[in-house]
């Protein structure tokens, strides 16, 4: 049955996380935007203590076994993750991205790793000190065109030797230098094989030859560390490779496995975008109410004021993005392929929230533009969601391929 009400458990969790966001994130939101490159260590420790061992912050795909084990009650893991991420991002998106957890690196291990690898790499996230794992894909010479990867992995006995430079690695410094974490690095074992030659490697903290050479200064999500990682003859164990070591020329096996993690992470990014957008919409609604401006939903278009029309558009595009996101997550919970829907929600949410937060700054005038308040920050934070985990345009391209039934060769 079509239903838009969260289950009781989920609604309870949402309310609890909302309290965390309101009481622990909002009060430090401004500080860690202004003080870029510093860690909210007390807050991170607290989040680690409460979330340690819970997978909900990872946003990874629910695996088949989990689905099978819960046949009586369909799993809500991914819908739950989107709800959680929305609340945390309503609190502060930069802080949300700074929560110690297995993150995108963990998602790749969950999706493509063997049982032994999952144990070896993921067990640490339920014990000890706060830790991070990250994913390193982008390079100075490529972004969306991942087949152009220049970082190499060469086999030398029971080791891989990695060389190359990775940029825009979210939580890269926290994973490698600030905790006992790891980074999943994309590299090619055979450049001539194109995408089939791309493999994912787990690079541990403290690996000789691996260094964080820079942490970027950014428009927004300033609390999140965005690292440049240089690999110079970095040697890692052979079985740190995720998935099949063989190169299957002409097939995209292996590569597909890693790409599949995007189907899980795109709804998570969309959910974060929606949290930021909601923060802005909630703030505008309160300010309009204080100013005595009513939003009369049932007025015909020609009788609406410009503010009413703008505000209603903000609300409806945000809700449209949220429902598309819930649908993509709900499909994952049911074990349905959601490649199309994941890109739909990410594309919509990134754009909607970029526009919603920009409109909020506009409507609020001098209040919106002021750094004393958070609205301008939300606008800066929001924009990243239109870019990372596939830009809006890359996601449109994926949507287009799916609806047209085209391969990447036919539509590029």
């Amino acid at each position: 049955m079509i239903d838009f009400e969260l289950s009781k458990d989920m609604a309870g969790m949402r309310d609890m996380i909302h309290q965390v966001a309101e009481q622990t994130m909002r009060p430090i939101s401004h500080q860690f935007d202004e003080e870029e490159h510093t860690d909210p260590t007390d807050w991170q420790q607290m989040m680690w203590d409460v979330s340690k061992g819970s997978s909900v912050f990872g946003g990874g795909p629910s695996d088949k076994k989990e689905l099978a084990a819960k046949t009586s009650k369909p799993a809500e893991r991914n819908v739950g993750a989107t709800v959680t991420i929305e609340e945390l991002s309503w609190g502060d998106a930069g802080l949300y991205l700074s929560i110690p957890n297995a993150g995108l690196g963990g998602a790749a291990v969950s999706a493509a790793g063997t049982a032994e690898q999952k144990q070896r790499f993921l067990a640490r996230f339920s014990e000890g000190e706060p830790k991070w794992a990250a994913m390193a894909i982008t390079e100075p010479g490529f972004g969306s065109d991942s087949a152009a990867v220049a970082t190499t992995a060469v086999r030398d006995g029971d080791q891989w030797v990695l060389n190359g430079t990775k940029i825009y690695c979210t939580s890269g410094q926290r994973a490698l230098d600030k905790s006992d974490g790891f980074v999943v690095v994309w590299a090619t074992v055979d450049k001539s094989a194109g995408r089939a030659g791309i493999k994912a490697f787990v690079v541990e903290h403290g690996t000789p030859g691996v260094s964080v050479t820079k942490v970027e200064d950014k428009l927004g999500i300033r609390c999140s560390d965005t690292a440049v990682i240089v690999l110079e003859d970095a040697r890692i164990p052979f079985d740190n490779l995720l998935g099949d070591p063989e190169v299957h020329t002409g097939s995209k096996k292996g590569f597909k496995g890693v790409m599949a993690t995007f189907d899980a992470t795109r709804p998570a990014v969309a959910a974060s975008a929606i949290g930021i957008g909601r923060a802005a919409v909630d703030f505008v609604r309160d300010e309009l109410a204080k100013a005595g401006v009513d939003i009369r939903y049932d007025r015909p278009v020609m009788k609406q004021t410009a503010i009413e029309r703008d505000f209603m558009e903000m609300e409806s595009s945000l809700q449209a993005a949220r429902l598309l996101t819930w649908r993509a997550a709900w499909m994952m919970d049911r074990g349905m392929r959601n490649n199309l829907e994941a890109s739909m929600c990410k594309s919509k949410a990134g754009l909607a929230v970029t526009q919603v937060t920009q409109k909020a700054v506009e409507i609020l005038g001098p209040l919106g533009y002021s750094r004393k308040l958070l609205v301008e920050k939300w606008m800066r934070d929001a924009k990243i969601n239109d870019i990372f985990e596939g830009t809006q345009q890359i996601n449109l391209l994926i949507v287009a391929r799916r609806i047209l039934d085209y391969s990447s060769k036919q539509l590029n």
């Binding site: 049955m1 079509i2 239903d3 838009f4 009400e5 969260l6 289950s7 989920m10 369909p74 809500e76 819908v79 939903y297 049932d298 007025r299 015909p300 278009v301 020609m302 009788k303 209603m312 609300e315 409806s316 595009s317 809700q319 449209a320 993005a321 429902l323 598309l324 819930w326 649908r327 709900w330 499909m331 739909m344 594309s347 919509k348 345009q393 449109l396 391209l397 949507v399 287009a400 391929r401 609806i403 047209l404 085209y406 036919q410 539509l411």
Partner: protein
Amino acid sequence: MISFQPTEDQQLMRDTVSAFACEQIRPIARQADESGEIPASIVDQAWELGLIQSAIPEEYGGYGGDRSAVSSSLVCEELGYGDLSIALHVLVPRLVTYPVLELGSDDQKKQVLPAYSGEKFVAGSAAVMEPAMGFDVNDLAATAIRRNGDYVLSGSKCYVPLGPAARHTVVYAREDGATAAFVVPSDAPGLEVVGRERIMGIKGLATYEVQLNDCRVPASARLRGDLAPIFNRSRVALSSLAVGVARAAFEYARDYAKERHAFGVAIAQKQAIAFMLAEMAIEIDATRLLTWEAAWKLDRGEDATREACLAKNYAAKMVLEVTDNAVQVLGGHGYIRDHMVELWLRNGRGFATFEGLAIA
């Protein structure tokens, strides 16, 4: 718990209506638009699907079935996908049955509903819209004034579906500053059909200009209760129809773009076209979900004014953009009446105008 899965009954209904829309309605949509007429045979066939009777309780001759707004939303999308004129035509009895079912007294139900539960299609109608720029269902220009225990209705109405063919017309008018609804036999003295409307789209559906010249109706004709759920139900139905129209245009443009070649490749292989199609697909899905949510809220008996209005406004904008893009994808061919897309653009343009047609 969050779910996007219709019930099995809903899926069955949707599949049945979808097949009817594709196989029966669509092939005659162009002809209906050109001739301004909808064949009686298609109306009879649609009647046999039980879309009207199913919602009427057995004591009034109906099937006593599902009245869910979500179910209606699913049906409306499929009919709208077939053709908007025909969809509206086959659903117009609901303009009478739905308000009477929701707000009617036992006497009103007994008097009105059996007429719409029979073997054959019986038209109903509603006089809601008014020929004025500021038309607002909550601030109507037509008036209802009490006189010696009766009501006297006065004013001008437009876009009244099927006009003289309707058994009853629900007339909406302002009484003491608020909107009230009256179930009026269409042959009541003072309810004068001026003439058939000539409008940009939905040309297959006969709509009429109606003049209320001191039309006197007994107090018992008035429906009692809050009209907001009726209008919200109308908004949900219109949004669903808009999704159907947009989907029709999108699929046509998508298929055309894969067939049409330029510079050695299908034009769909060009990002300028492919991205338009991708955005159309996303916005159609987005609107459907917003509409389902408003429908779901109505089914729970909650005030859905905010959700229904947001969905309706969103849908009106979306369907115009999608149908316009469909014409654009076809280029010059899109402008020619040999192709369907210009018809969908004209029909799509109507949603910003249509209001208060509670065909849900």
